[in-house]
C-alpha cells in the first residue's frame, strides 16, 4: 500500500522493491475487483449495457475507488490518485475511437480488394456490380495528379513566404506570418467555392483537375509556409553572419547556405502539406468533381480522386458500392500514412508541423 503514497508525494525513501511490488500488485488487483463489482452494480441501476456501457460504468467507478483507497493517506493523496485515474482513463478513452477508425477502415476495406482493384477503373462497371469487377486506378491517378498540381503551386509559394518572413524580414513580414497562420483555418469548402467562381466559371468554363489542384494548393499553402518558417528558424544566425563576412550577398546566403542546410526539413514541410490535402473532399466536389474513367487531361472535364471516389460510392448506397468506399478509404489512409511516416523519417525530431 505504501508504494502509492511514495509515488504520489515523490518523497525519496529507502526502497525494498521486492516487497513493495508485491504489495502494489495486491492493491491494484483489489482496486480492480472492487471497481468491477461497483461497475456491475452501476449497470444494474442505470441500465448501461454492452461493451461500451460496461467500459463507461468502469470509468465512472474506478476513479472513485482510487480516491477511497488512498483516503487513509489524507484527502490530498486521495485527490491525487483520483486525478491520475481520470487522466489515464480519459487518455485511453480518447484513443479508442481512433483505433476503431483504423481497424474498421482496414478490416472493411479488405472486402473490396481483389487482384484488379488497384489497376482498373470504373468505366465499364457500375458501382453495384460484384466486387471482383472494376477498381480505383482512376482515383489513385487522379489524386496523384491533383497533388502534383497543388504541390507545384503551394510548395514554392510557401517556401518563398517563409523566406520572406525569416530571411528578408520585410515590412509585411509580421502580417505575412499572422495571415498564413489564420489562413490555415479557411474552411476547405470556401477554398473550393473561390476556385469555382474564378477558375472554373471565368477561366475555363468547365470543371477540371487544374481547378481542383489549385483549390488544394490554397489549403496546402499555410501548412508548407508555417512548417518551412519553423525549419528556417533552426538555421543558426552565426552561419548567415559567416556567409556575409565572406562577402556573400543575401541571395547566395539564402540559396547556397541556408536552404541547403535545411533541405530535409523543407522536404518534410512539403510532405506534411501534401498529407494535409491528400484527403480533402469538399473543395474537389466543387472543382474537379468525380469521373468513372481514368483521365489525364487536366484542362478538360472532371477527374476522379480517392476522396471523391469514396464519397460517390458511399452516396450510391448499395452494399458493393459501400464496400468500394471502404476499400478506397483503406487506400487513401495508406497513402496518407506512408507520406506521414516518410516526413517523420526525413525530418527527424526537429521538424514540428504547425497548424
Amino acid at each position: 500500500m505504501s508504494t502509492s503514497s511514495i509515488e504520489a508525494t515523490s518523497i525519496p525513501q529507502p526502497q525494498r522493491p521486492w516487497r513493495q511490488a508485491k504489495r502494489a500488485w495486491r492493491q491494484a488487483i483489489v482496486m480492480l475487483v472492487v471497481s468491477v463489482v461497483g461497475a456491475t452494480l452501476l449497470m444494474q441501476v442505470t441500465g448501461l449495457a454492452g461493451v461500451i456501457g460496461s467500459y463507461v460504468a468502469f470509468a465512472l467507478v474506478f476513479p472513485v475507488v482510487a480516491f477511497l483507497a488512498s483516503m487513509k493517506y489524507g484527502k490530498k493523496a486521495g485527490q491525487d490518485k483520483m486525478a491520475s485515474a481520470i487522466i489515464c482513463l480519459a487518455f485511453g478513452t480518447a484513443f479508442m475511437p481512433w483505433m476503431s477508425i483504423l481497424f474498421t477502415v482496414f478490416n472493411r476495406g479488405r472486402e473490396a480488394f481483389y487482384s484488379g482493384f488497384l489497376t482498373t477503373d470504373m468505366l465499364v462497371n457500375s458501382s453495384d456490380q460484384p466486387l471482383n469487377m472494376g477498381g480505383l486506378s482512376h482515383a489513385i491517378v487522379g489524386t496523384l495528379i491533383l497533388i502534383f498540381i497543388a504541390s507545384m503551386v503551394a510548395i514554392p509559394l510557401g517556401i518563398i513566404t517563409a523566406i520572406y518572413i525569416v530571411e528578408v524580414k520585410g515590412r509585411f513580414a509580421s502580417y505575412a506570418r499572422f495571415f498564413t497562420q489564420a489562413m490555415s483555418g479557411v474552411p476547405s469548402i470556401v477554398a473550393g467555392l473561390f476556385i469555382y467562381t474564378t477558375i472554373v466559371v471565368v477561366v475555363f468554363n468547365r470543371f477540371n483537375a487544374l481547378a481542383g489542384g489549385l483549390a488544394l494548393a490554397i489549403l496546402m499553402l499555410p501548412t508548407v509556409a508555417r512548417t518551412a518558417e519553423e525549419v528556417l528558424k533552426l538555421v543558426p544566425d552565426d552561419l548567415r553572419a559567416a556567409s556575409y563576412a565572406m562577402g556573400a550577398s543575401q541571395f547566395s546566403t539564402v540559396f547556397r547556405i541556408v536552404l541547403p542546410t535545411v533541405r530535409s526539413g523543407l522536404v518534410t514541410a512539403s510532405i506534411l502539406g501534401v498529407a494535409r490535402v491528400a484527403g480533402e473532399t469538399a473543395p474537389l466536389l466543387l472543382t474537379s468533381q468525380y469521373f468513372v474513367q481514368l483521365t489525364t487531361n487536366i484542362l478538360d472535364g472532371p477527374m476522379a480522386s480517392l476522396p471523391t471516389y469514396i464519397f460517390a460510392n458511399l452516396g450510391a448506397g448499395s452494399d458493393t458500392s459501400v464496400a468500394r468506399a471502404w476499400g478506397g478509404s483503406a487506400v487513401l489512409m495508406s497513402i496518407v500514412f506512408i507520406l506521414f511516416v516518410t516526413a517523420r523519417l526525413l525530418g527527424g525530431r526537429n521538424t514540428k508541423s504547425r497548424h
Binding site: 473561390f194 550577398s249 496518407v336
Partner: protein, 321 residues
C-alpha cells in the same frame, strides 16, 4: 541606455542588384499568398452581392432556403439562420466534449506517461491528426451513427426534463449530437497539441517547488501547470472551434439537413453552412449559386474571425512562456 544592436539600429544599407531583385521577388511571393485571403473575400462578395442586396439582413435571420420553382410561381428565398445555428451548435458540442479530453491527453503525455511511450504516443497523435475528413465521415456514417443513437436515447430517457435533450420524435440518428461527437474527435488532435505545447512550457522550478512543499503531482498540476496554460488552452479551443465550424463532408454524412432552427441536439435535424453548400451546389440554379456564394462569404468571415483571435491568443501564450 540606447541599444544599438544591428537589428535595432536604423541602418541605411545599399544592397547589390542581385539582392534587390531577390528581396523584391520574395516579397512579391509573400504578398501574393497574403492577398489570397482578400481575393477570396472579394470574389465571394462580388458573386454573392446580388443575394445580399435582395434579401438584406434576412439572409442571416431567416431559416428558409428555397430555390423557387422554375416557372417563377414560388419565388426563391434564401436565409441561412438554421445553418448558422447548426454550425454553432455542432461546434459548441464538439469543443465541449473535446476540451476535457484534450486537457487529460495533454497532461497524460506531458506529466503521467512513462518516458519510453511518450514519443510513440505523440507520433500516433500526429498521425491521427492526418486522418482525412472523408474517412471520419464514412466511419461516422456507418459506425458512430448507430452507436451514438443508442447513447442519445439513454441521454434522452434520463435527462428529458432539460429542454435541449427533448426530441419531437424518437429518432436519434443523424442528429447535431452525433455530428458534434464526430467533430469533437476531429478537432481533438489540434486542441491537444496546443494544450501540450503550453503545458510543456510551465516553469519547471515552480513545479518542483510545489512538489518540494510536500504537494502531490496533481497539486502541482492544479496550482502551477493549469493556471499557466489557461490562456493558451483557450486559444487551442478556439482553433478547434474554427475547424469544427467549417467542416463539410463529415457533417454532410452524419447530419440530416433540415431548414429549421433546431436546438434540440438529439433530434434528427440540423445542418451547417458548409454542408449546405456541398448539398445544394450540384443542383443549384444560377441564382441559388449566388446564394451559396453569399453563404460561403459569411462562413469565411466567421471562421476567419475565430481563427485570427485564436492565433493571437496562442501566439501570445507561446511568447510569454
Amino acid at each position: 541606455m540606447e541599444s544599438t544592436d544591428l537589428k535595432q539600429r536604423e541602418i541605411v544599407i545599399r544592397r547589390g542588384l542581385a539582392d534587390r531583385i531577390f528581396r523584391r521577388a520574395m516579397a512579391t511571393g509573400a504578398i501574393l499568398s497574403l492577398s489570397l485571403l482578400a481575393l477570396i473575400a472579394s470574389f465571394l462578395l462580388f458573386r454573392g452581392f446580388e443575394v445580399f442586396r435582395d434579401f438584406g439582413f434576412s439572409f442571416i435571420t431567416s431559416a428558409k432556403w428555397d430555390s423557387g420553382s422554375a416557372d417563377g410561381v414560388t419565388p426563391a428565398s434564401f436565409g441561412i439562420a438554421a445553418m448558422l445555428v447548426g454550425s454553432v451548435v455542432t461546434a459548441i458540442i464538439a469543443i465541449t466534449v473535446a476540451l476535457p479530453f484534450a486537457i487529460c491527453v495533454a497532461l497524460f503525455l506531458e506529466y503521467y506517461a512513462p518516458s519510453f511511450i511518450r514519443k510513440p504516443l505523440t507520433a500516433v497523435l500526429d498521425l491521427v491528426a492526418a486522418i482525412p475528413s472523408v474517412i471520419y465521415g464514412i466511419w461516422g456514417y456507418t459506425i458512430l451513427n448507430n452507436l451514438a443513437a443508442g447513447w442519445a436515447k439513454s441521454l434522452n430517457s434520463w435527462f428529458d426534463w432539460i429542454w435541449f435533450f427533448k426530441v419531437p420524435a424518437p429518432i436519434f440518428t443523424r442528429s447535431p449530437f452525433i455530428a458534434g461527437l464526430l467533430l469533437a474527435l476531429m478537432i481533438l488532435p489540434i486542441t491537444t497539441s496546443v494544450a501540450r505545447e503550453v503545458y510543456s512550457q510551465a516553469p519547471r522550478d515552480q513545479i518542483d517547488a510545489a512538489y518540494g512543499l510536500g504537494g502531490t503531482k496533481w497539486g502541482a498540476i492544479r496550482s502551477v501547470v493549469m493556471p499557466f496554460g489557461r490562456s493558451g488552452l483557450v486559444g487551442g479551443a478556439m482553433l478547434g472551434l474554427g475547424r469544427a465550424l467549417g467542416e463539410t463532408v463529415a457533417v454532410y454524412l452524419v447530419l440530416n439537413l433540415v431548414f429549421k432552427i433546431n436546438l434540440q441536439i438529439l433530434a434528427s435535424a440540423g445542418g451547417n453552412v458548409a454542408s449546405l453548400i456541398a448539398t445544394r451546389f450540384s443542383e443549384a440554379t444560377p441564382y441559388e449559386l449566388k446564394g451559396l456564394m453569399a453563404a460561403g462569404l459569411v462562413l469565411f468571415l466567421v471562421t476567419l474571425a475565430v481563427n485570427a483571435t485564436a492565433t493571437l491568443i496562442v501566439n501570445r501564450a507561446r511568447n510569454t512562456a
